[in-house]
């Protein structure tokens, strides 16, 4: 599971949960896989992601180096920063571990790099 994917996941669908984002990552196995660097893509993605969540996630898996706590405005041309972001968003992958809902504590296991977000009937808001 790449961190950019993690950036899209929320557990708000669980009954009674209102603050289900971002999910806490409890990794047991993390890998870094190389992905072609595409600065345009990274820039575009930045407009769509929640940066603080990304920052938090990257640090929790131990790959937060190079990432500032806040994003400034001049990111576009800062290649080093872009590369760091690229690394965090697309290259770091959680292979095994859990995602934990910050409110309810519900665990979503990650197996083989794929998080299992399926809920049981009784957990879902009707």
């Amino acid at each position: 599971m790449k961190l950019i994917t993690h950036n899209m996941l929320t557990s708000n669908i669980i009954k009674g949960v209102t603050k289900g984002f971002p999910l806490i990552i409890a990794p047991t196995k993390v890998e870094v896989k190389e992905v072609d660097f595409n600065p345009d893509f990274v820039n575009k993605m930045l407009t769509k992601i929640d940066y603080p969540a990304l920052y938090q996630a990257a640090n929790s898996v131990g790959h937060g180096e190079g990432l500032p706590e806040q994003l400034g405005d001049d990111v576009k041309d800062n290649t080093d920063l872009l590369k760091a972001l690229h690394n965090a968003m697309l290259q770091v992958e959680v292979i095994e571990g859990d995602l934990v809902c910050p409110e309810s504590g519900r665990k979503f296991p990650i197996a083989n790099g794929i998080p299992n977000m399926l809920l049981l009937e009784n957990e879902v808001e009707t």
């Binding site: 708000n12 971002p22 575009k44 930045l46 769509k48 992601i49 929640d50 399926l118």
Partner: protein, 841 residues
């Protein structure tokens, strides 16, 4: 951009004299590419973008001119299945009678632009030797004429039906027609006459019109699969489907044909050739000679209990697939209702109706047969056939039918699977370690090079519940989809005579196509060879019965009849002719293909090879229009990215087209919440590289298959079942749309594919606050009518959900009235493919 008449073309041609080859690489050739029906405009868009030129679209295909240098780009297109280069078109052929039409088709070879076609072909395929685009000595038109007429016998399936009908009406009738060599003809003739009297029968007027009952599925079949011959009215006379087709997909086609045809299956294929020279000892016409009186075709067979269950023809050349089909048709006799899975409704009904009266006469007929004098072979044949039919109709239970049917489906595929041209099949076998019934059918198989037109697709196929297992397990997606499509009893109709699609993969008869002089002397050897390969294609002659009897358990495949006895000239490319025919003509596609093939042999002297060919010549006859093309794709492009298939795997081409409809832009997120085997995510990842793709599914198997597919793609590079039901959809679709609305920002587009249009329309209407319908397309997938909806998310917020944030963006997305949200450009595209079909019952 450049159009053929554009003067700039001229300059292009002048300036691009390459030394690379003598070819002028800017020379334009006309390319036709097949497209899933409904997506023609989409494909057209892609072609226009890629080639910058005008593109014509007609049903199921797009046509445009491509310079030779860009030919390879054509094969990289995402929205097309098969491509071919058109080398001759006759808009109004003005067909007449059979001989004349076929002769003129043969003469047409002189007008075909072989040069351009071969250049194009060479650019794609390459061949170690140069291929002359015309022979040194061009044959005169008269020399080219060597009309070959193929007579195919209908499937045993229908044979049963017909026979039963007849039996009910007095099976003792003798027909004037001479009986066929195996005596089966008698039955056929008898049945044919009966058949002809039946109103529900095929349109007899249209000779060789592909028939079939399921015109729409036919179309689907035609488009998407390479099918075996369709049987037309005239085919009633002597059809032996099994014999005629030679392709890796024989079995499948047979299965399909069974389901499609309602004609009687005479036992053997009889090649009728009207030769001008006198080498044939007698004029061989449609009537097959009687077996010599000393030949006791039947009695010995009767002793064998096992064989009793077989159709008379099967005794000689059993075809397991036929067997299964025969068995499967037994069902109707058991219940009065039409079994939707197998027969045409009208036939079934009559079959069932006649079932009862038959059984009583069964034994008596049988006994009488045993004691009958071989001399009265006609009566004996008739009676025998009748009794056999009776036996067959009664003696099988549905369970055995199931078994047999599955057997059929599982056995034959081994041949096609092993086909070289079908890497997917092999890969599938390896990659997909779950040989469950449901998931086997997706073997892409299409390689079907023989198939005309479009390769069979591993499409969501329509499976009849009862035959689900068997059909599904057919590795050829084609058969699966076709059978499914064919099986729809609701769409069965024998009345449709106008849109008969007749696809035939035929090997030009080796015998007739060879030097004529050799025929007489070689016939015996030829036949021996033929019979060795087991084929129902035979020149009728008294010797044949023996030979055929000799071969018992061979598959009915007309393989390349030319055995190694003939040394092949390696400098000559092997070829085959594939004919697709739509409309009413006095001939069938088999004959057309055979005749044209014969002309090609006369003209080029290329050897024939139905399976391992180099050049595939496509002869497309669409009512009055005749087109000759050379295939540029050996196997369809539609399963290019898939390795592991599941029950709902979409063809890559369909995925591509759906994605195109969404107008994906750079940096978009693409989400497929029900990705299954990830056909859509993979296609989007490969073609829209500036986007991020999500895929999800709740089914474990889907995840596994997705992982397999992605791995395969990563290793570099190297496809219909339908799930669900309408009732489920009624609740599923509104939920789906609601959920999608929750996670989609205003302006997001969703593209959905479903068969269950009404449910989706209702859901959209009830959720019209959130989704606006922008486009609705009707597409044809494997004969099934699919609908593609493109929806646009409105700016309305969702109530009822306390969730404030759904999709994460840099601005909290509140599907409410947050102005911030709306201020941002929103480009989230969601693609969902939902293949839902109600099972037919």
């Amino acid at each position: 951009m450049a159009s053929p008449d554009d003067p700039s073309n001229e300059s292009m041609k002048k300036t691009s004299l390459r030394s690379e080859s003598d070819d002028n690489l800017e020379e334009l050739c006309t390319v036709e590419a097949s497209v899933v029906t409904g997506f023609e405009e989409c494909a057209r868009g892609e072609a226009r973008e890629k080639f910058g030129t005008d593109v014509q679209a007609s049903r199921g295909k797009i046509i445009w001119k491509v310079p030779l240098s860009q030919l390879n780009e054509v094969l990289k297109m995402g929205s097309v299945d098969n491509c071919r280069v058109v080398i001759h078109t006759v808009p109004h052929f003005k067909f007449s009678d059979q001989n004349d039409s076929l002769a003129r088709l043969q003469k047409m070879i002189l007008d075909v632009n072989w040069e351009c076609g071969l250049k194009a072909w060479k650019r794609i395929f390459g061949f170690p030797y140069s291929i002359a685009s015309s022979p040194d000595v061009i044959p005169s038109p008269e020399e080219l004429v060597d009309v070959v007429i193929m007579n195919r016998q209908s499937q045993p399936k229908d044979k049963f039906g017909k026979k039963k009908k007849n039996l009910g009406k007095g099976r003792g009738k003798k027909k004037e027609k001479e009986s066929k060599e195996y005596g089966n003809n008698k039955l056929d003739s008898e049945n044919q006459k009966e058949h002809n009297k039946e109103e529900s029968n095929v349109d007899k007027d249209s000779l060789g019109s592909g028939d079939h009952v399921l015109p729409e599925s036919k179309e689907g079949l035609c488009e998407e699969s390479k099918l075996g011959p369709d049987l037309g009215a005239e085919d009633l006379e002597k059809l032996d489907l099994a014999g005629e087709v030679s392709t890796p997909l024989d079995k499948d086609r047979n299965i399909i044909s069974f389901q499609k045809s309602h004609l009687l299956p005479p036992p053997k294929t009889v090649i009728v050739k009207q030769v001008t020279s006198s080498e044939m000892e007698a004029k061989i016409d449609i009537k097959v000679l009687n077996p010599p009186p000393s030949e006791n075709v039947f009695p010995s067979v009767l002793e064998n209990k096992e064989l009793r269950h077989l159709e008379p023809m099967e005794v000689d050349s059993p075809n397991t697939s036929f067997k299964a089909n025969i068995v499967s048709h037994q069902k109707p006799t058991n219940d009065a209702e039409v079994v939707p899975t197998s027969l045409n409704a009208p036939d079934c009904a009559s079959v069932a109706a006649n079932a009862a009266p038959l059984s009583q006469e069964d034994n008596s007929a049988f006994d009488s047969l045993k004691t009958s004098d071989p001399e009265s072979s006609d009566a004996a044949a008739e009676a025998f056939a009748t009794s056999v039919i009776n036996k067959l109709s009664i003696s099988h239970t549905s369970s055995s039918r199931e078994n047999l049917v599955s057997a059929v489906c599982t056995t034959p595929p081994s041949t096609p699977i092993a086909s070289l041209e079908n890497p997917f099949v092999v890969a599938n076998g390896e990659a997909n370690g779950h040989p469950e019934h449901d998931f086997e059918a997706y073997v892409p198989a299409e390689t079907n090079p023989k198939g005309d037109g479009y390769s069979s697709s591993v499409d969501p196929a329509d499976f009849f519940p009862s035959s689900k297992t068997s059909l599904v397990s057919t590795p050829q997606g084609l058969s699966a989809s076709d059978s499914g499509a064919v099986e729809k009893s609701d769409t069965v109709s024998t009345e449709q005579s106008t849109e008969k699609h007749d696809i035939n993969l035929v090997e030009p008869k080796v015998t007739p196509c060879d030097q004529h002089q050799e025929i007489v002397t070689e016939k015996a050897t030829e036949e021996k060879r033929l019979s060795d390969n087991l084929t129902s294609v035979e020149c009728s002659s008294p010797e044949l019965p023996e030979q055929d009897k000799a071969q018992t358990d061979q598959s009915q495949t007309i393989t390349a009849v030319k055995k190694p006895e003939r040394e092949r000239d390696p400098t000559k490319p092997k070829f085959r002719v594939t004919c697709n025919r739509v409309g009413n003509h006095s001939f069938d596609s088999a004959s057309a293909a055979a005749s044209f093939g014969s002309a090609v042999i006369t003209y080029f002297k290329w050897p024939v090879d139905l399976k391992n060919f180099d050049i595939e010549i496509l002869l497309n006859i669409d009512n009055e229009e005749v087109t000759v093309s050379l295939a540029l794709t050996k196997c369809s492009l539609h399963n290019r990215n898939m390795v592991a298939f599941g029950p709902t795997t979409l063809r890559s081409t369909i995925c591509y087209n759906m994605l195109r409809l969404c107008r994906i832009k750079k940096g978009d997120f693409i989400c497929d919440p029900m990705c299954g085997t990830s056909a859509i995510p993979i296609e989007s990842a490969l073609n829209w590289t500036n986007c991020y793709v999500f895929g999800g599914d709740f089914h474990e198997k889907a995840i596994e298959r997705t992982a397999t597919n992605i791995k395969a793609i990563e290793q570099k590079q190297r496809e219909n079942n339908r799930l669900g039901s309408r009732t489920v959809n009624r609740t599923l679709y509104p939920c789906l749309l609601t959920e999608m609305a929750r996670t989609a920002r205003p302006g997001a587009r969703a593209c959905l594919l479903t068969e269950d249009r009404t449910s989706l329309i209702k859901a959209i209407q009830s959720l019209s606050k959130f989704w606006q319908r922008r486009l609705m397309l009707n597409v044809n997938i494997g004969g099934l009518s699919g609908f593609v909806f493109v929806l646009l998310r409105t700016t309305a917020s969702q109530t009822g959900h306390t969730v404030k944030e759904t999709v994460k963006t840099d601005v909290p997305v509140d599907l409410g009235s947050h102005e911030k949200t709306e201020a941002k450009s929103i480009e989230t595209d969601i693609q969902v493919s939902t293949e839902n079909d109600s099972s037919k019952q």
